[in-house]
């Protein structure tokens, strides 16, 4: 966490019908920083993540990545940006069930134009350091929940993104596995110089981050909690 602001949202407003999901949110994420977005169900935390990641266009306000406006981009450009500059880890379901683990990890590289053999070779280098050695050929259905999340982490980081977005990454895991997964996620992101934005309602998860912001009724509450569990360091 040594660099300047990488990703920034200013005055973000998003409405769904008459429901105001975001009501003028400002949030800046610095290089290498891990930020947890917390809040109860329906508070707008996932909407904030989707706006920051260029998945959704805010109704008002702006999002910039390294000083470049994201919200004004066309869908095709935002899609390319998500592919190359962002990584994603979700609660479940993000791995393609038909593809072996190594091809799941190699897919973003192939989508970016890397030849298949090289992409798979590059993907394989992630398995050992993440404790997945020997599971390269396994399909997602043959992996445990924690293993599948580590494959997803490898896939999120394989392209060398600036920011990794994680939406309830431990939501489907037990406490011990969730702990391991967060450790892997935070350390691997830090090791690769990626910032991390984690949406969670679990304080145990949030404690892995440098900073915690809380969303209530579409607004960001002040109060930045340092994380006692954050250990920095690298997994690789």
């Amino acid at each position: 966490m040594t660099e300047g602001v990488v990703l920034e949202g200013r005055g973000l407003v998003k409405r769904f019908g008459r429901t105001v999901a975001l009501d003028g949110v400002d949030l800046a994420v610095r290089g290498g920083e891990a930020v947890a977005i917390m809040g109860p169900s329906g508070s707008g935390k996932s909407t904030l993540l989707h706006c920051l990641a260029g998945i959704m266009r805010p109704d008002a306000g702006e999002v910039t990545l390294l000083g470049r406006r994201v919200d004004g981009m066309r869908e095709r450009e935002r899609s390319a940006l998500r592919r190359s500059r962002f990584g994603f880890v979700f609660q479940f379901g993000q791995l393609l069930p038909e593809l072996p683990a190594e091809e799941n990890v190699a897919l973003p590289l192939m989508l970016g134009g890397v030849p298949r053999a090289r992409a798979v070779q590059q993907a394989r280098t992630w398995f050992g350091p993440l404790g997945l050695g020997g599971m390269e050929g396994q399909r997602p259905g043959e992996l445990s929940g924690g293993q599948a999340q580590r494959v997803a982490i490898a896939r999120a980081l394989v392209t060398g993104p600036s920011v990794v977005f994680a939406d309830e990454p431990t939501g489907a895991l037990d406490q011990a596995t969730g702990h391991d997964t967060m450790h892997t996620l935070v350390t691997a992101a830090a090791h690769n110089g990626a910032s991390l934005v984690v949406v969670t309602h679990d304080p145990q998860v949030a404690r892995w981050c440098h900073r915690v912001v809380e969303v209530r009724d579409g607004r960001l509450l002040p109060g930045h909690t340092p994380s006692p569990e954050f250990s920095g360091g690298g997994a690789r």
Partner: protein
């Protein structure tokens, strides 16, 4: 069981908008296939009805002691239309009349079908009416093959030369009969056989289609049902719920399909087959068959649903945990090769039409059996050689679920089988040549040729028809040929003699009527007419079978493609969210459909052609090749179109991956 029904009903109602769309698609699929199934069965019944009504014209000979009448049947013509003329003579008083006549025609009387009676009224007597000078009544519909059929029943004395034993010529020679029941004629049997083969060719894709529709229901429900297993529902309860849901939907679809078919019958009755349209009543297959269809379709759909559920029932985690799929068994290929290899033996020689129909259904089913195996093989090859993500995704998807991919392309591939089969069998239009229609001929024994020639010249002169009368041929039989002179033909302004006026030809024919007892004059083209009608109808049948198969297959492909998008919406949405371009997802979907389609479509066409080989006697022809080409292009375009139609759906389900305001 009542709990299962209640929960199934709740699942059906509580499926939300997407669930309702899915249920609607399934219902529509079952309705369409039921309507076509009814049509397929009804056509066979309709030909049976026609054959029954026509049977009295093919008399069964009776011995002298039992004979009550003599009956001969011949063909007459009017301007290219065939008139069936039955000549009857009662051998004793009080004989029951032929079907359709109110009483037995007295000698010299003519009873005409309504269409012929109208034609006689509208035409100058010297062209047609002269052949039936004493019209005594109109025949009822029960004796007619089709509403517009031209039929005349002529009363004769038992000793009339027209009914002399051994009279040759076309039609049925004079036969002593005990009654007017008769038996099915050769043409009727040919039509029934062809309808049966067409039925088999259409029924299999329809059944496959219904089955696919049922599996779609299960595919949508499997996650929910697996959840029910996880909370403790027994396998029996899960099966019960699924079967109840599938059967409820299928029953509604089947009722809609039967209603749709019945609503369409007045239109379907206007299709011309064997020279005429249909009585609407012919297309009603009867209460028993209709109830049979209404019972069979939901049962079949229910059975398909159970098969589709097998994995969920075996393990509650079967759906939630996606594991490496078991390989498709090579046994499928062995079975396919065995069936296709045995077909030429089964279909050879004098095998009955039912045996051939069954034998035809087997390779058809075998193609369906081997399809998923080939799809999985294609998937392995694609995944192994893929350099681009779309190709890799498509290949892995085919390996993962070859049955699902086969459901999308299977219908069209099976249509390829039909096209290959009928493409070889469909007769060429030129098979019978292009016979002249400008001269009339009368076949006579050689000894009578000169007398008949002189009689013809005398009658034509008396009627004022200038014509050249010649005798041709050698041997025992001669042809007395009458060619109206072109110069005297009104309306023919110096054209070729072939363009002779039909009116003059009919005047000549009417003048010659009765010259040779029991035999009318006809042009060479008219002599070929029954054969031409049959060939034309085979071509029409080919087009109908292919059109129906293609329509069913394309609809099936469309429904399956849409359902596949709905089933995989979460994966697609997350992929797009992570930056995968929509074009890559679309390309992957296209590849996973088109590659198996090309391979299996080609393979099915080849299998169909192979199976048709034992029956080929005239070689390939333009119609067949054209039908094949249209089918290949239509099938390809249909599946591409069906896939393209689900692209907006893909866009819609991936457009907003995080709709919740959380």
């Amino acid at each position: 069981m009542s709990a299962a029904v209640t929960i199934a009903w709740r699942l059906l109602r509580g499926g939300g908008r997407r669930g309702l769309i899915g249920a609607g698609l399934t219902l529509a699929a079952v309705a369409v296939s039921t309507a076509f199934l009814m049509f397929t069965v009804a056509v066979n019944v309709a030909f049976e009805h026609r054959a029954d009504r026509e049977a009295w014209r093919n008399p069964v000979p009776a011995d002298a002691a039992r004979a009550v009448a003599v009956q001969g049947v011949r063909r007459d013509f009017f301007q290219g239309r065939m008139i069936t003329v039955a000549e009857v003579a009662a051998l004793r008083p009080g004989v029951a009349p032929p079907p359709g006549a109110a009483r037995f025609p007295a000698p010299g009387e003519a009873w005409l079908s309504p269409a012929l009676a109208a034609l006689v009224r509208e035409t100058p007597p010297d062209r047609l009416g002269g052949r039936f000078p004493n019209v005594a009544g109109t025949l009822a519909g029960e004796t007619l093959v089709h509403p517009g059929e031209l039929v005349a029943v002529l009363g004769r004395a038992p000793d009339d030369p027209a009914l002399a034993p051994g009279r040759g010529g076309d039609g049925v020679a004079p036969t002593p009969v005990a009654d007017f029941t008769g038996r099915h004629g050769a043409d009727a049997v040919a039509y029934q056989s062809l309808a049966l083969v067409a039925g088999v060719l259409m029924v299999v894709p329809l059944l496959v289609f219904s089955g696919a529709a049922a599996r779609l229901t299960v595919a949508r429900r499997d996650q929910r049902l697996a959840a029910l297993r996880l909370v403790g529902a027994t396998p029996g309860q899960v099966v019960g719920m699924t079967v109840v849901e599938a059967i409820l939907l299928a029953l509604a679809g089947a009722v809609a399909g039967v209603a749709g078919y019945l609503a369409m019958t007045p239109l379907l009755a206007r299709i011309t087959v064997a020279g005429g349209t249909w009585f609407v009543a012919d297309l009603w297959p009867g209460v028993l068959i209709t109830f049979g269809v209404l019972l069979a379709v939901p049962l079949l759909v229910g059975a398909s649903a159970v098969l589709g559920l097998r994995r969920v029932v075996v393990s509650p985690l079967g759906v939630a945990r996606r594991e490496t799929p078991p390989g498709m068994r090579v046994l499928r290929v062995v079975a396919f090769l065995a069936v296709v290899g045995a077909f030429p033996v089964l279909g050879r020689g004098n095998a009955g039409v039912v045996v051939v129909a069954v034998a035809l259904a087997l390779p058809f089913l075998a193609v369906n059996l081997v399809g998923p195996w080939v799809v999985a093989l294609i998937g392995r090859v694609m995944a192994g050689t893929a350099r681009r993500p779309a190709w890799l995704l498509a290949g892995r998807r085919l390996v993962d679920d070859p049955r699902s991919a086969w459901r999308t392309v299977g219908g069209v591939a099976l249509t390829g089988f039909v096209a290959g089969f009928v493409g070889l069998l469909s007769p060429s239009a030129g098979l019978l040549g292009d016979a002249p229609a400008d001269r009339l001929r009368l076949g006579v024994p050689a000894a009578q040729a000169a007398t008949v020639q002189a009689g013809a010249e005398r009658r034509l002169r008396a009627a004022g028809v200038p014509a050249r009368v010649t005798v041709t041929g050698t041997g025992d039989r001669r042809l007395v040929e009458v060619t109206p002179e072109p110069a005297a033909t009104p309306g023919s302004t110096g054209g070729s003699p072939r363009e002779g006026s039909p009116e003059v030809l009919e005047r000549a024919r009417t003048a010659l009527d009765g010259l040779v007892p029991g035999r009318g004059a006809s042009t060479p083209a008219e002599d070929d007419l029954p054969g031409m009608l049959l060939l034309g109808d085979i071509r029409t049948g080919t087009v109908v079978v292919l059109a129906v198969s293609l329509l069913v297959a394309t609809t099936s492909a469309g429904i399956t493609a849409a359902s596949s998008v709905l089933d995989r919406r979460q994966t697609y949405a997350l992929l797009r969210l992570a930056g995968t371009p929509l074009s890559v997802l679309d390309r992957a979907r296209r590849s996973e459909t088109l590659v198996p389609l090309v391979v299996m479509g080609g393979g099915s066409v080849a299998t169909g052609m192979f199976c048709a080989l034992p029956f080929v006697y005239a070689g390939l022809n333009v119609t067949g090749v054209l039908a094949l080409g249209v089918c290949v292009v239509g099938g390809f375009a249909g599946v591409v179109g069906a896939g393209a139609l689900s692209s907006p759906l893909l866009r819609s389900v991936t457009a907003n991956p995080g709709p919740r305001p959380d």
